[in-house]
């Protein structure tokens, strides 16, 4: 498995005295209860290079890095840093070994200044004043060296995400990190910020540092890494030299089979407008527009996909249309009802208007983990007359309905009394889809329908969505998986910083054009 990378190391080392690899994993295994997150993982990362780790969600990338950073302890296996076997049992050991990590969710104290965050845990002496003075000097040096400017006196909660990421990198460098791990660093970044991040990483490499980049975005792997490892189902399935591989090959390795060019689907003529969105605006708690003057419509027999780097307003768009977030400006119309800032509509009312919603975050939104499956199967429909028996619930009707939904969508195990949390991700998602599709909605909002879902269930779920569209449902699909968007949609809208910056028929879309539009909004609209 490691032969490719070994040869890569050898090639690099040819002609000079070979430094030991920065990191070696030998047979790392880690389980969480019944879930095997890492299984006999071995990997070698050469010093002074940028190494990518790709894989689908749940492939075990983050777990492996958390083990390296001492956040979890491996059940089995060994880690060597610069040729020395190390026993990293906690983050401070990792820091001492020269490892720094930028987490997907920033580990910053919102009420602290940049400087306070940077020195936290790496203070010099018992008094803050000394640490702050020393850190100020050190920061100036790092800034100059890596072109990494952040105002040290700024308070974290006032800073944009791009700056927060620079703070995280500074934190690691301040601790003397020689090896920097970045976990999905670009998911929340604008293209400019991504470019800047890559420049910083190149600078790190030029100074002799080692970078481990975890991502599921193949374009980034191709753009910046020297070597790459592919993970699938907790195992390393390939180690490659980036220059010798291609996006297509990596994608195939990631998924474990050839990506199919599209689902079999019939052409159906679209019908009347089912959902009309006009100048819709959503603001967050700081009054910043998250959805900014968005207009579009979806017709019956049509799937409209929203493509975009996550965090560009797609989630907020889904939630405002579902009635969860308030409309701040403009509005939308469904079944003849206009929803405006001064005429709001809650999720319950919207359901009666023929809207259904498969939320992005099924664990936190789509079901209640502590409920039995049958209770989760009526979430949002708890007031339906079918489920009532006078003022009481009709328990038999609820159980019967749940059993029927489970049978129709092949939810396993088909036991309505089992706790929702005890189903696998795919089965949870199937149950939620079954619930939402059961009323034959006129408009369906779907967010990340196959996130964290096993491959077998993906095709099934895609098939169901296509069938719904064939039957006349108007579907709005949000997904971070471009392939999914392209496979399912009739029309694609590209969202960037809360706006819709491009629209194109799915037949005209390929991953490259879409990627360009998502990444470089200005050029795409121009």
């Amino acid at each position: 498995m490691t032969t490719d990378a070994d040869s890569a190391t050898k090639k690099r080392a040819a002609g000079q005295s070979a430094p030991p690899p920065a990191i070696e994993f030998h047979g790392i295994s880690k389980s969480f209860g019944p879930v095997r997150a890492n299984h006999d993982v071995s990997m070698t990362i050469a010093a002074g290079c940028i190494h990518g780790i790709v894989g689908e969600n749940g492939a075990g990338k983050s777990t492996l890095m958390s083990i390296l950073y001492g956040f979890y302890e491996a059940d089995r296996g060994e880690i060597k840093v610069a040729g020395q076997a190390v026993n990293i049992t906690s983050p401070d050991r990792a820091i001492a070994a020269g490892i720094g990590m930028v987490h997907q969710h920033f580990m910053l104290v919102d009420t602290f200044t940049v400087l306070e965050n940077i020195i936290l845990g790496a203070e010099r002496g018992l008094l803050l004043a000394d640490s702050i003075a020393a850190a100020g000097e050190e920061l100036k040096r790092l800034e100059a060296e890596y072109d990494l400017y952040v105002d040290p006196e700024a308070v974290i909660q006032d800073l944009p995400v791009g700056a927060l990421q620079r703070v995280e990198i500074l934190k690691a460098l301040y601790r003397g990190a020689k090896i920097l791990i970045l976990d999905e660093p670009t998911g929340v970044l604008t293209p400019q910020e991504t470019d800047q991040l890559f420049r910083i990483l190149q600078a790190l490499k030029a100074q002799g540092g080692t970078v481990i980049l975890i991502t599921h975005k193949l374009r980034e792997i191709m753009a910046i890494t020297d070597t790459v490892s592919v993970m699938r189902h907790g195992r390393v399935v390939a180690d490659k030299i980036t220059a010798e591989t291609s996006e297509a090959e990596l994608a195939e390795l990631m998924v474990g089979r050839k990506i199919r060019s599209g689902l079999k689907r019939t052409d159906v003529a679209v019908g009347k407008v089912a959902l009309r969105v006009r100048h819709l605006t959503v603001r967050d708690a700081y009054r910043v527009p998250r959805v900014d003057d968005v207009s579009f419509e979806i017709r019956t027999h049509e799937i409209v996909g929203i493509a975009g780097v996550s965090g560009n307003g797609q989630s907020e768009l889904l939630e405002v249309l579902a009635g969860i977030l308030p409309v701040a400006g403009g509005g939308f119309e469904i079944a003849g009802r206009r929803i405006m800032p001064d005429d709001p509509c809650d999720p319950a009312q919207l359901r009666t208007l023929g809207l259904a919603h498969v939320p992005e975050d099924r664990q936190r939104l789509g079901m209640v983990a502590e409920f039995s499956a049958k209770e989760s199967a009526i979430l949002g429909y708890q007031n339906e007359p079918l489920y009532q028996d006078g003022i009481m619930f009709n328990q038999a009707a609820i159980a019967e309905k749940c059993a029927a939904l489970m049978a129709r969508f092949d939810v396993r195990p088909p036991l309505p009394a089992v706790l929702s949390a005890n189903f696998s991700g795919g089965n949870q998602q199937k149950l939620i889809l079954a619930r939402e599709l059961d009323r034959a909605p006129d408009v369906l909002l779907v967010g990340q329908p196959t996130r964290g879902v096993d491959i077998g269930a993906v095709e099934f779920i895609h098939r169901q969505l296509i069938d719904m569209r064939d039957q006349g449902c108007a579907i709005l699909l949000v997904s971070v998986e471009l392939e999914e968007i392209m496979a399912l949609s009739d029309r694609i809208l590209v969202m960037f910083e809360g706006r819709i910056v491009a629209e194109l028929p799915a037949v005209d879309a390929d991953e490259r054009t879409l990627g360009l539009m998502m990444a470089n909004a200005a050029a795409a609209t121009a």
Binding site: R364, E375, R412
Partner: protein, 373 residues
């Protein structure tokens, strides 16, 4: 939660019993430490609480209060709210009953006064809980702190009213006049006498019947109605509740009103059932006992009833014990109450890892039937 992987009968049976056992063992050590014999003390308590009719009457009378207070805490817990304000809500609930009785006891017959008293205690208790609920739901203030504050405000208000307004003229101690007989809840020994059964006198009154009704009603409400479903959704996952079209603010306010109303019935039991007049401090900490009862009963009505009976035994037995053994006071029961809250509440899952180890040593861990991918 560590116990999630254990079978249900262990989670809801073995562990709670183990926790209570721990609390009782520590209590026994305390009794031993002050030089008394814990086993003899226990025998006195059990005999005092259950050994004769009057004792049983007292035990059930205490259990009635604890059931109301425990249910009040329990329903709030299901909505994710910690109502520490049962004491104040009970106090104000009692005030409501008292005011109605003082105003109407000579004008109306018992058949009308009884439902009016019930309603008054519920409404006053609910109102006292509604303010913290509103502040939590709409102004974001923490309900634990506000309900604590409202306990103190209730106490101050009652002192003011009793000393300055409601005191019976010519009396030294701050008490109202006694209600007419039509404003008394019938004692159980009286009610039994009507049907020819003789039972020793005790404060036990017909409130206990209402407590039983509340238990059944609350169980049905929480698990068998759409309102209870919405309440539990809010308690488990507020975002999912919003997704499901539930308004968490409404649920919070309604739930706290029910909770406060239930606590208010403690006031009814005391004012209309036992003292037949308004006075100070009639709640005597029962509202706080409700916290122990609810935690011990795992917030389930059946559990609350069982825990209430246990605490009824402890209170009545403790009183008997204090009478029999000079070295021991009634406050021993308060100590045990604290220990129960500690072991059944804050340390509820302390024993779970050990129990799991023993369980899986006896019975090998099966491959999970449902795999989490």
């Amino acid at each position: 939660m560590p116990a999630a992987s254990l079978p249900r009968w262990i989670d809801t049976g073995v562990i709670p019993v183990l926790n209570i056992a721990l609390a009782l063992i520590v209590s026994g050590l305390i009794i031993a430490a002050i030089g008394e014999d814990p086993f003899a003390a226990m025998a006195v308590m059990v005999k005092g609480a259950l050994g004769y009719q009057e004792g049983i009457g007292y035990t059930l009378y205490y259990a009635t209060n604890f059931t109301f207070a425990g249910l009040a805490v329990a329903i709030a817990f299901h909505a994710g709210l910690f109502n520490i304000g049962g004491e104040g809500q009970a106090y104000i609930g009692g005030l409501g009953v008292g005011l109605v009785m003082l105003a109407l006891d000579s004008a109306l017959p018992m058949v009308l006064l009884l439902p009016l008293g019930l309603l008054a205690s519920a409404i006053f208790g609910a109102a006292w809980a509604a303010v913290p609920a509103y502040l939590q739901a709409c102004r974001g203030s923490h309900i634990v702190i506000t309900t604590i504050m409202f306990n103190f405000i209730a106490a101050a208000l009652m002192v003011y009213l009793m000393v300055n307004v409601l005191i019976q003229p010519g009396q030294m101690s701050p008490q109202s006049r006694e209600f007419d007989v039509s404003g008394h809840l019938p004692f159980v020994h009286e009610a039994l006498a009507w049907i020819g059964v003789s039972f020793a006198r005790s404060p036990l009154n017909v409130s206990i019947v209402w407590a039983a009704v509340c238990c059944l009603g609350l169980g049905a409400y929480i698990w068998r109605t759409r309102w209870g479903y919405e309440l539990r959704t809010v308690g488990h996952n507020e975002r999912a509740a919003v997704y499901a079209g539930v308004n968490p603010r409404r649920v919070i306010v309604i739930t706290m009103c029910i909770s406060g109303g239930l606590a208010g019935f403690v006031g009814m039991n005391e004012v209309m059932g036992v003292h037949h007049r308004l006075l100070l401090d009639f709640t005597a900490g029962y509202g706080f006992t409700g916290i122990a009862v609810s935690l011990m009963g795992r917030n389930h009505p059946i559990g609350v009833v069982l825990a209430s009976l246990l605490f009824g035994v402890l209170y009545q037995g403790g009183a008997e014990l204090a009478f029999e053994v000079p070295g021991i006071t009634r406050e021993l029961v308060v100590t045990i109450q604290g220990l129960v809250i500690l072991f059944s509440g804050a340390l509820a899952y302390m024993t779970a890892p050990w129990v799991a180890r023993i369980y899986y040593a006896v019975k090998p861990r099966p491959e999970p039937a449902v795999s989490a991918a």
